[in-house]
């Protein structure tokens, strides 16, 4: 219980700081549907994510969480419904354009440039906000000072500075996972989406990641998918539970924990402890 209160306190604090924001809602979907062939992986999901809140999405495997992320970032095309970012309809915007509008993500399955250095990975991620500059074959890679600076900051923040020159593919799994999150940060997005940021991380890394995500909310809107209930229940402002492509329920962590439907669909019987 105490953890939960703390989370509420923190979120109250941060939203207070940014009270005058023009749109209280950073990202919104309405009746979003994604089809893979004839199979509907996401069906009519309406989601509303408050600015600078931490919004987590949970649900059984195959519930459509990653697919929902794909739709939000433009990797897959929704077959119906719409997505609004700060009141701007971005349903038909290409994925790379959405980065410029302020959405960035990390992937569930680590997706880096394995032969490029950590710094180069982050520099590219940062450069992605001004991609057309990169089309000039005469510009040296050190040209974009801002991108270099961002890369440096992100490495600092994720304690990757020591490995700045190493190829991303040579990092340990935990470091790769951190870099994966860093790739999203480097784009300096307003809305950051993280798909299972702690999967594959060691216990101490998980704790650090938890703190990182918490701190991100100061200047980002954070949406993340997690199976680690320790994190979800501790730092989320809102939790959305998905099942079979649909939104099952949504609420505060406390509400979710007590929802019988969620227990049955996701948290399972085990949480009640009624072992037969």
């Amino acid at each position: 219980m105490s953890i939960h209160n703390e989370a509420l306190k923190r979120s109250g604090h941060s939203s207070g700081k940014h009270a005058p924001a023009p749109h209280p809602v950073a990202l919104e979907t309405s009746e979003l549907t994604v089809a893979y062939g004839s199979f509907l992986a996401v069906r009519g999901v309406s989601l509303s994510v408050r600015r600078n809140s931490i919004h987590s999405i949970i649900g059984p495997n195959g519930a459509g969480k990653t697919t929902l992320f794909h739709a939000l970032t433009g990797r897959v095309r929704p077959s119906a419904g719409s997505i609004r970012l700060d009141d701007k309809d971005i349903s038909h915007t290409r994925d790379d354009d959405r980065v410029r509008l302020g959405i960035a993500r990390s992937f569930q399955v680590t997706s880096l440039f394995p032969n490029l250095s950590v710094q180069e990975n982050l520099r590219l991620a940062s450069q992605g906000r001004t991609p057309w500059q990169a089309l000039a074959p005469w510009r040296s890679i050190n040209h974009n000072k801002e991108a270099m600076a961002t890369a440096g900051e992100v490495m600092e923040r994720l304690s990757l500075t020591q490995v700045a020159g190493r190829a991303a593919g040579e990092l340990s799994h935990g470091q790769q996972r951190r870099l994966e999150v860093g790739m999203a940060l480097a784009a300096r997005p307003r809305v950051i989406l993280m798909d299972e940021p702690t999967s594959g991380m060691g216990v101490d890394d998980i704790e650090a990641m938890k703190e990182l995500i918490r701190s991100l909310a100061a200047d980002h809107t954070v949406i993340f998918v997690e199976h680690n209930m320790g994190i979800v229940m501790n730092i989320s402002d809102t939790v959305t539970v998905m099942r079979a492509g649909q939104k099952l329920v949504e609420g505060t962590p406390a509400e979710i924990r007590d929802d019988p439907e969620v227990r049955r669909a996701y948290l399972g019987n085990m949480i009640t402890g009624d072992i037969a």
């Binding site: 340990s172 999967s199 594959g200 399972g268 009640t272 009624d274 037969a276």
Partner: protein, 235 residues
Amino acid sequence: MSIALQVENLNTFYGKSHILQGIGLEVREGEIVALLGRNGAGKSTTLKSVCGALRPAQGAIRFRGKDIAGWPAFRAAQEGLLLVPEDRGIFGLLTVEENLRISQRKGSPWSLKDIYRMFPRLEERRRNNGGQLSGGEQQMLSIARALLNHPRLLMLDEPVEGLAPVIVDEIVNQVLEIKQRGIPILIVEQNLAVCAKIADRNYIIELGKIAYHADAVTFANDDEARDRYLGVKAD
């Protein structure tokens, strides 16, 4: 009771990440052993390493008296060590019946008739393509295939994952029936209720190592262990 499967010091890597770090476990004839652990702990990796779908870097695997470490998956399968994988491994472009037919092996105690009696739903849908089945039906098909394939030990990876409770019940019953027929089972399951209902013994994997091991009764009463390893709060 004699030992059907014995695994010692199993180490497996994905590229450079060391996933299994010295797993050891055993399955005796006629029992159901459950393998528990959080997401990503290495449960599926253990099953795949045992049956040869993944190649362990190190470790001994004895199955019915043979050292099968390093065997390719098809040979392990021919020995009767059958994995029903997480993703169920259905051939989506083959019909249900084709899926079953290519799994049929001489000498299996189960025949197509038996299967259709066990899972009448499959008979109804036998002309459909595997890809058109619902998740539960696919799970039935996957188990059915393993049975036709003359199993001597069955490894089930989260067989009731994502299934509706009724179907879970049905599958649980079938699993128990398979056990009755004398086939030992190694099962990975997140659902503790299911485990409790069927498992004789439990192992818990954490970060690629066996962190806990107990028989069913002990485990049922070990609130602390369940809390610690599985994040299950006993209210």
